[in-house]
């Protein structure tokens, strides 16, 4: 099993789309939301994605294809 901690940042056109639900359903990964900040036109969600390594990788690639910015948690640049 693999577990990835990631931050999803949603553009305005995806704020009302159930991206995380669809991702779990499509790829069989478990999503566990830890923190979030969403408004009517923007937002981010910090979550853990758990599943087989292949499923986790494919699910995150799919999320990016949808237009979500996906970053590993704690890997934000400090410079």
């Amino acid at each position: 099993m693999a577990a990835e901690r990631v931050k999803f940042t949603f553009p305005p056109d995806l704020v009302n789309t159930p991206v995380i639900y669809n991702m779990g359903k499509e790829f069989g990964v478990v999503t566990n939301i830890r923190r979030a900040n969403l408004s009517h036109d923007r937002g981010w969600v910090i979550l853990e994605v758990v599943g087989t390594p292949e499923a986790v990788e494919k699910s995150l690639s799919w999320a990016k294809e949808q237009g979500v910015r996906v970053e590993p948690v704690g890997a934000e640049t400090t410079s």
């Binding site: 099993m1 934000e76 640049t77």
Partner: protein
Amino acid sequence: MTTTIQAPATPPGVGDRIRGLQCRECGQLYAAEARHVCELCFGPLEVAYDYAAVASSMTRETVARGPQTLWRYRDLLPIEGERVVDTRAGFTPLVRAHNLGRALGLRNLWVKNDTVNPTFSFKDRPVSIASTRARELGFEVLACASTGNLAGSVAAHAAKAGMRACIFIPSDLEPAKIVGASIYEPTIVAVDGNYDDVNRLSSEVADLYPWAFVNINLRPYYSEGSKTLAFEVAEQLGWRLPDAVVVPVASASMFTKVHKGFSELQQVGMVDSGTVRMIGAQAEGCSPVVQAARAGSLDVQPVRPNTIAKSLAIGNPADGYYALKIVQQTGGALEAVEDSEIVEGIRLLARTEGIFAETAGGVTVGVLKKLVLAAKIDPDEVVVAYITGNGFKTVDAVAEHVAPPLRVAPTLTAFEAAYARSTAERGH
């Protein structure tokens, strides 16, 4: 499938000064180990101190007896032993900038000249702390993801500490920066990809290898080093707070730590209470924090950097939100300048104070000038401008903007003719 979250037990601190690492979001406390993300909410961790314990041992006199380096403030730094990695970083000059002040219309302007650190940037402050803590925690390899300046500092500190170093850089990094790190003989890994790719790979390596990545798993200790920029300014002003400071903003880590430094000095009774207006400076070509401030939002939207100020080119700053909160709390400001203003800022600082700054320094001076012209800084305020890196790191940014030398035949006549022409052109 479910994931069970178990709250960590109350951890031991470090001595009686340091309570441990605390989540900035949910407040959960952890042992002072190599960890940077909260297990509960994935929020960032920072060092928590027992300020009463610090106040009982730290006085102006004990500081004055300390070395002429950042280690004179060790009571407020997250290390436990006596054996520090000492490259003589910090305690850099605070210059009374009469000439620059006159040019800008400020009567109490000071420049914190951090260009003179051992590897020529403020990075030696956080890396001194991180390398010392890494050794205390038993690590043998010091590592980082870097775009250049950090690479040199990490490699130098590893050399001094007798540690191995592994540095991850983008493969298209300028040769001068690679040489600036390679000379200390670290292992340099040039990654085919952009800085985000380097960062991602480094995080994966940090998860698998028992290495101390200064800006990943040692980040809480690393970032504390920037507090010394505040400690020194207060001490060099005679243990008083400035009215305002101008700080370049990349990830905004330094910005938040300078603010934390001024706050801590008040908490331990080293200075009288007061508010330092925190002013953040960015390049327009990479100004996500400024853009959020202009929109009246605390939500920082990532941008794709496009500026000559490479050392500030972080499109998704980790501490942008916290910087915006600090600006609100202190009545400060956030402003950005164009690349042409950055170059002019570098030149202005050089010709008025004799200090050659890298592009981040040009951003600081450019923003200072802009805010004075907008009457957002009072001419009598005590203002400190932080100049955080040496101009020799970014010579290309100004190479086309300086006058060429007078080329003459080796005769007095030729010299005098050329010199007269030059003087006439310059008007003096």
